[in-house]
């Protein structure tokens, strides 16, 4: 079929690395965890880290938001990453002779190394610190990103074959020219942004004043940092928040976060902010520091209240000091976390051009600096970038370096448009299903140490959450060649999606399609299929489970029973286990509304002695109407079997709840089928 679908799922479009969120979430929903993980890893070398601290542009774009809440895509990624699958990455199609030098073993540098190796290049990574990870290691506290998770990601990258040289600072220990002389054909500068910005207020040099980034680094690297009782953290970003929460864990009793705008404008993550509030961080908003007091050490902080004026260049409302609003906070420690800038002086001396903002100047598409063989990315060009942005830079630079080395023109990737938001009438037709809550350490225990706060989804919760995905832009498509213009799809769709365009003959199935499969089954011309590559409507699964039938002994008869099981049911795991224990072949489908009568008949053709459909109770279903359609097809097929003279019991419909009743009905059913004997008397 050659059908174009206009637009892509917004979660995929919104992601800087175009991570196929929908696809891995859909696979997760079908419990195909390994394949889901490989999809994640194919574009993202930091699944465990990203699954924890990503800024989740995908969730902001999630169309489920207009129904209830976005799908917890990030946490689902984490669930997959925590399963510890071995990445299965494609071998490079060709080995190239060139070696690339990467400066900085942070996420941008490591991502570039990952991509370059997969493209067929050798890489050497130069890192100033003793351990790789960059800001992920030294700037993100362990309670958000445990070392083990970070190490897992990094080890997976390094095991591909990148060489890591630590303790070397390029520009200081070795110059760019040295690198060229050593034979590196290209250099990627991913030095990050580690130089803290200053407040420029009196008293900033006093002991007890420390930058947020330094504070966090010392905690990680063991620099002997201490905090006293009362801590003021200045800033509203993630570093400020992390410093505040870390300070609490270091023993501070009273931590205030001072931010000059209101909560609304805070750039930090909402989830983290809520967690910080729970932990007891005080948010002193619309406040700016004016002076730090103290003789040998900090004793107080003079602040001024602010009000918000007209929006500035960043679109946020500009804070204006309120005259006569000054007040003093009694503090022992002041942590300044108002941003960082890259250390570029040395690089500048090496001939790299620096922008007015103090970042490395690059071409936004090729990531090339003013020196053709030198590329740059990550925080060194974006300042306070995000992890996923750094990965994107790494991936993109790797491609660009490949093009440069091969003398090819860099192809600017074509941006796919996201599909539109759900239309309000559709929103009404889609079932509300609450977002799963992340299990967390209780507040009392988590502020005592740096143990991870978010505990991760257990399997059932992850699967349930994944099933909330609306499978955007992967719904049904009509093949106009096969379409008989019968209008069946238009008439059966529970969501009123298919429309005949004015003057047209073939229905257009718009992006609001929910992938329930009702039209696919009902289409008499076989013209509709689901764009979703992972949906087999039970057909292929049936073939694979039936392929495992052992040869039937003549003396011992055990019936072959096939169960078609609704994956959307929360009980499906227990149920499918119980079925397998009973020797029943299980075919899981994402909603029994996807079962075609011909598939049920096929089961019998493949020597099933009985077929049982296990669907959730009407009302429990992800697709409410799916239940009704499935039941109709069940009845339709039952009539067929009746005409064959097959016993009615051989096609059953069981509800998985209440569980006890289900187990009882199931064993009765199995007993009955045993008594009936085989469908075919095969000699």
């Amino acid at each position: 079929m050659n059908i174009k679908i206009k637009g892509e799922a917004p979660c995929i479009v919104a992601c800087p690395i175009n991570q196929d969120a929908r696809d891995y979430v859909q696979l997760l929903a079908r419990r195909n965890f390994e394949q889901a993980f490989q999809i994640v890893r194919s574009k993202n070398p930091f699944p465990a880290s990203c699954g924890r601290i990503c800024t989740r542009r995908c969730e902001e774009a999630c169309r489920r938001t207009s129904v209830d809440e976005p799908v917890a895509i990030c946490w689902l990624k984490r669930f997959l990453a925590d399963k510890d699958f071995t990445p299965n990455l494609p071998k490079p199609p060709k080995e190239y002779p060139e070696t690339v030098a990467i400066v900085g073993a942070g996420p941008a540098g490591l991502s570039a190394a990952n991509s370059l190796i997969l493209l067929g290049y050798k890489c050497v990574i130069f890192e100033e610190l003793q351990e790789p990870g960059g800001m992920l290691r030294v700037g993100v506290p362990r309670y958000r990103l445990p070392r083990e998770s970070l190490d897992k990601d990094i080890n997976n990258i390094l095991s591909l074959g990148a060489q890591l040289r630590t303790g070397i600072k390029v520009g200081r220990d070795i110059t760019l020219s040295d690198l060229q002389r050593e034979g590196f054909k290209a250099v990627f500068l991913a030095v990050g942004s580690h130089k803290p910005l200053k407040l420029d207020i009196p008293g900033e040099e006093l002991p007890g004043v420390i930058s947020g980034i330094e504070f966090l680094r010392q905690i990680t690297l063991g620099g002997g940092v201490k905090v006293d009782n009362r801590v003021a953290v200045i800033g509203g970003g993630d570093t400020a928040l992390d410093a505040a929460r870390a300070a609490l864990r270091m023993g501070a009793r009273d931590v205030s976060l001072i931010y000059r705008r209101s909560m609304e404008e805070m750039p930090c993550e909402t989830v983290g902010r809520k967690e910080a509030e729970e932990e007891g961080i005080k948010f002193v908003l619309l406040t700016t520091p004016a002076k730090i007091f103290g003789k040998n050490r900090v004793t107080g902080l003079r602040c001024i209240k602010m009000t918000l004026g007209e929006p500035d260049n960043s679109g946020r409302r500009r804070p204006i000091p309120l005259p006569g609003s000054g007040f003093t906070l009694q503090v022992d420690t002041v942590i300044v976390a108002i941003g960082q800038s890259p250390e570029v002086d040395l690089l500048s001396k090496n001939g790299v051009e620096i922008s007015e903002k103090g970042t490395i100047k690059i071409d936004n598409h090729t990531m090339s600096t003013t020196i053709p063989w030198v590329f740059a990315g990550g925080d060194a060009v974006t300042l306070g970038g995000t992890l996923v942005q750094a990965i994107a830079h790494g991936n993109q630079t790797a491609l660009s370096i490949h093009n440069y080395l091969r003398g090819e023109r860099f192809q600017i990737p074509v941006r796919t448009e996201p599909i539109k938001e759900l239309s309000p009438p559709r929103v009404q037709l889609i079932k509300r299903e609450a977002r799963q809550r992340m299990p967390m350490l209780p507040v009392e225990s988590r502020i005592k140490d740096f143990n991870e706060v978010e505990l991760g989804f257990p399997e059932e919760q992850a699967v349930k959450e994944a099933r909330r995905c609306l499978n955007c832009a992967a719904g049904a498509v009509v093949d106009p060649e096969l379409c008989a213009a019968c209008l069946t799809c238009v008439r059966v769709c529970p969501y009123d999606i298919p429309q005949i365009p004015l003057g047209g003959r073939t229905a257009e199935i718009g992006p609001d399609c929910q992938s329930c499969g009702v039209c696919v089954v009902e289409c008499p011309a076989n013209a509709i299929s689901l764009k979703d590559r992972y949906e087999d409507m039970g057909e292929k699964t049936l073939e694979s489970v039936m392929g495992q039938i052992p040869g039937r002994g003549i003396l011992q008869y055990a019936p072959t029973i096939v169960a078609f099981l609704c994956q959307y049911d929360s009980h499906s795991q227990t149920v499918s286990q119980k079925l397998r224990e009973n020797g029943i072949k299980v075919v899981e489908v994402s909603c029994i509304s996807k079962l075609e009568p011909r598939t049920l008949l096929k089961a019998f053709e493949m020597l099933a002695d009985a077929v049982v459909i296990i669907g959730s109770q009407s009302g429990d279903c992800h697709f409410d109407a799916g239940h009704t359609w499935a039941k109709r097809r069940f009845d339709y097929t039952a009539l067929f079997l009746e005409t064959l003279g097959l016993e009615r019991q051989r096609l059953q419909w069981l509800s998985p709840t209440p569980e006890e009743e289900f187990f009882k009905s199931l064993s009765n059913f199995v007993e009955e089928i045993k008594k009936l004997g085989p469908v075919f008397q095969i000699v």
């Binding site: 008989a484 009902e522 008499p524 011309a525 011909r598 008949l601 064959l644 097959l646 469908v679 075919f680």
Partner: protein, 223 residues
């Protein structure tokens, strides 16, 4: 569109029980649109026949195929190669399609898998209703757009009969009295007086009818 209904399975197996090579042929025309004889229904019937044969211990090869339209010689031709392998063909097309197959393949036993019932419209999803009998002399222009030949149980030309009650037909209370509809529409159109004129007996012409469109016929280029 032509509306048909599936024949009973008993009837089908009675007709094919002595054959070993059976084909079920769907039609991509009207019967597909009505979900009666399209590809899926052909697959279902074929599946059912295989199950039946297996249960009977019979060695029967059942294949299925769906033609774009069984009432066109060019489309029927498309199965020419495979047809040699078949002894019997069950056509899920209307009575027209099944006869086209029978004419094209004189050596094969061609059976109808459906009963063709009428030409009708979709009134609502899953509800189809007869609207035309192809009588060859359309008078709906004079009867308010409703056909009394197809829609009056007695095909009255000067209705309604005495059984019209509350707008319903005496033969089936589910059926509207078409003469009531005609009366209302004609009054609405200001043409009510036309109903006072006696309509003469209808000309039930010779059947089968044949129609020739001279301008569409083949041109012999040798002439």
């Amino acid at each position: 569109m032509i509306v048909a209904r599936p024949k009973s399975f008993e009837e089908i197996i009675r007709l094919i029980q002595n054959y070993k090579k059976v084909a079920v042929l769907g039609c991509g025309g009207c019967v597909t649109v009505r979900s009666i004889g399209g590809q899926k229904q052909a697959e279902e019937l074929a599946s059912l026949l295989r199950l039946w044969a297996k249960r009977q211990g019979k060695d029967v090869v059942v294949t299925e195929a769906t033609l774009t339209r069984q009432c066109e010689p060019e489309f029927v031709e498309s199965i020419n190669d495979r047809a040699n392998d078949w002894e019997v063909v069950i056509s899920l097309a209307c009575g027209v399609g099944v006869q086209c197959l029978a004419e094209r393949f004189p050596r094969i036993k061609v059976l109808p898998g459906v009963d063709t019932i009428f030409m009708g419209a979709t009134i609502e999803p899953g509800l189809y209703w007869e609207r035309c009998v192809g009588c060859g002399e359309c008078i709906v222009g004079e009867t308010g757009g409703f056909c009394p030949v197809a829609r009056c149980a007695k095909s009255l030309m000067n209705g309604p009969c005495g059984g019209s009650q509350g707008g319903r037909c005496e033969v089936s209370p589910d059926t509207p009295c078409v003469w009531q509809l005609i009366y209302e529409r004609m009054e609405q159109l200001g043409m009510g007086e036309e109903l006072d004129v006696i309509r003469p007996p209808k000309d039930w012409s010779v059947r089968p009818q044949r129609m020739i469109m001279e301008h569409l016929r083949k041109v012999d280029s040798r002439q």
